[in-house]
């Protein structure tokens, strides 16, 4: 296989306690640690393993986001990606627009495999991968927990509600990753230093001629209601009584 394309989204680090801006227009990102979306990191790890097994020759990472998303692309390059593309967008990009941009990147790069996270931990949309497959008119294998490539096909084990499902898709295809697909590697210091010298191209999103999705609008961000404190009960009888009291059983 020639090329694998991997998406890396810049998101608030999973360790950070999210705070909603007081005006409800979004979440606080000032001075907040930003990272690669964990599912995307898994996607890149999988692509690198495929390349290291000799089943692909190049891994290209891309991100759609602000100029600062270069940091996440550099981390991707330090992990081992060969080159990076930043589609620079100052404002948030809705899933359909992202999918359209990715489809254009696919046209330009002609990868045989596109690996994306199943969703980003910011808005948890879980749509982009599926939309890309539809726009590209190629098969999709979402929520992957195992990927094997042979004879122009990918055999993918998927995590579905009922358990595991294994499907076979013809390549080129879109695979989206689930949590258990792999454990991303530690990036080594020499690779961090070398990543500076790897190519990273930036293109403004306007050049892709993709109009924002009119059907998609964010009205407001609000923090979840605060959970009330739990109550300790002495024994099972007290628990049952308390549940009955609340009309829960």
């Amino acid at each position: 296989m020639d090329k694998i394309l991997v998406g890396l989204k810049r998101v608030v680090d999973y360790n950070v306690r999210i705070r909603v801006k007081t005006d409800g227009s979004g979440v606080e990102t000032d001075g907040v640690k930003m990272s690669i979306n964990p599912f995307d990191e898994i996607a890149l790890e999988e692509a690198l393993r495929i390349r290291e097994r000799g089943e692909a020759s190049e891994v290209v990472v891309f991100s759609i986001g602000p100029s600062d998303a270069q940091q996440q692309l550099r981390t991707g390059l330090a992990m081992g990606a060969d080159r990076a593309i930043l589609v620079e967008a100052a404002d948030a990009v809705d899933p359909l627009s992202a999918a359209k941009v990715i489809t254009k990147l696919i046209e330009a790069e002609s990868p045989e495999l596109v690996i994306l996270g199943k969703q980003a931990i910011d808005n948890d949309n879980n749509q982009t991968g599926q939309m890309v497959a539809a726009l590209w008119d190629r098969p999709q294998a979402t929520f992957a927990s195992k990927v094997e490539l042979a004879d122009g096909k990918a055999t993918v084990t998927r995590e579905v509600d009922a358990g595991l499902e294994t499907i076979e898709v013809d390549l080129p295809a879109v695979v989206t990753t689930d949590l258990r697909l792999n454990e991303p590697r530690y990036v080594k210091l020499p690779d961090i230093m070398k990543a500076k010298k790897k190519p990273l191209d930036t293109t403004p999103i306007a050049d892709f001629g993709v109009a924002p999705d009119d059907a998609f609008e964010v009205s407001e961000y609000a923090p979840p209601p605060q959970r009330s404190k739990g109550v300790m009960v002495e024994d099972t009888a007290a628990l049952v009584a308390a549940l009955k009291d609340k009309g829960l059983i």
Binding site: Q70, V187, L189
Partner: protein, 390 residues
């Protein structure tokens, strides 16, 4: 603004994307591979051999050493080192860092001053985590008073014959080599040479030091040399120029310790603040009692001062014009800060802090080794006064 480990660090405009990436990866490694075992290793008094290999692969052991020996030096500045010392200190188990990173005092003399043949034999396996090297200077008869050391090396043909002993040698039980200060000449500093001694050479023996107050995970040894024959070719630097080699090491060791102490003090702040926000006494949170709020503010005040001083001296170190007096007092500033913060955090944590197995309790036990090791506060002040020509 919160007062956790990261947000209680003053901004540093010299940090680049690579520094942040290094911190991120290092922290991930430490959080996943070290932190879960830290208390257990501390109690057991040892760290597993695989930690060296993994730390070497990550680049941790190789940081700053020449690429030709397996090091990583291209584009590396002092901030990469400071990040390592900060992140390792964040564990709150000084013994782990002291043992794992002990080559950072033992190996630089070899890499900077030994013959090429010695460098090629020693540096690559140490940087790969497969072999270990310790620095052996302190003797049972005296520590920082290097000029009066009593271990002798008498030349016999193309060998030295070494007799004497060294104590408080960090990593000494595991070391394959010792970068050793010996007396080849007359009295005083001008008679001292540095010699690389193989730990398995006939006549070398060692015993583990008795139980320590802190640094439990670090092995510390007394080394005995009895008619040990060492090739003259294993001189580190010129004969009778050992004092220069030793002095060359001190600045980086003191800076590394100061960075670690500041970070330990910051851990104390983080733990104390978290506890004060949760714990309720007399109908309100500890954090709402003025007496506690003042303690937290005083901790932060001293941390700020130490961090500012650290940044300045780090920059001077990077530029190669550090003042040894300022460096010595930085070490004192840092040990006084960690002593204060450990004390105040303990007072805030109360009984919860006194129970073994938490970071503040461990740091509290490691205050003294930091205030004494690498040059005691008293020696540092004296050195500074002399440096300032007082």
């Amino acid at each position: 603004m919160s007062l956790d480990f990261d947000s209680a660090r003053l901004p540093n405009r010299d940090l680049t994307e690579e520094h942040h990436a290094w911190r991120t990866q290092l922290r991930r490694f430490i959080d996943d591979e070290v932190m879960p075992h830290a208390a257990e290793w501390d109690e057991a008094g040892d760290i597993p051999a695989w930690l060296w290999t993994r730390a070497a692969a990550l680049g941790l052991l190789r940081l700053g050493y020449p690429e030709r020996y397996g090091g990583v030096s291209d584009g590396i500045d002092i901030w990469f080192h400071n990040i390592v010392n900060e992140e390792l200190a964040r564990l709150g188990v000084g013994g782990v860092a002291a043992t794992l990173m002990v080559h950072n005092i033992g190996l630089p003399p070899v890499v900077n001053f030994a013959s090429e043949a010695v460098r090629e034999r020693v540096a690559p396996p140490v940087l790969a985590g497969d072999a270990h090297i310790s620095l052996a200077i302190t003797e049972p008869g005296g520590g920082s008073d290097v000029a009066s050391l009593a271990t002798t090396a008498v030349q016999d043909g193309d060998h030295f014959v070494v007799n004497g002993s060294k104590t408080y040698i960090t990593g000494g039980m595991r070391a394959n080599w010792f970068s050793t200060a010996v007396r080849t000449g007359g009295e005083g500093a001008s008679g001292v040479s540095m010699l690389l001694i193989d730990a398995d050479a006939p006549g070398v023996s060692r015993t583990e030091l008795d139980r320590k107050q802190g640094w439990w995970a670090s092995d510390t040894a007394t080394i005995y040399f009895e008619d040990v024959r060492v090739p003259v070719a294993q001189l580190i630097g010129e004969r009778e120029q050992g004092f220069k080699v030793i002095m060359n090491n001190f600045n980086s060791e003191r800076l590394a310790m100061a960075v670690g102490m500041e970070a330990m003090a910051r851990v104390c702040l983080e733990e104390a603040v978290e506890w004060a926000r949760e714990r309720k006494t007399f109908g309100k949170r500890l954090a709402d009692h003025q007496v506690i709020r003042h303690k937290v503010a005083q901790m932060k005040q001293r941390l700020n001062a130490t961090q500012g001083y650290l940044q300045l001296v780090s920059q001077q170190y990077e530029d190669g014009n550090v003042d040894a007096g300022d460096m010595a007092l930085l070490k004192v500033q840092a040990s006084e800060t960690v002593e204060f913060c450990a004390r105040e955090a303990m007072q805030i944590l109360g009984g919860a802090g006194y129970i073994r197995g938490n970071r503040v309790e461990r740091i509290y036990r490691e205050v003294r080794v930091n205030a004494i090791g690498g040059g005691s506060e008293e020696i540092m002040r004296d050195l500074a006064a002399r440096q300032y020509r007082f």
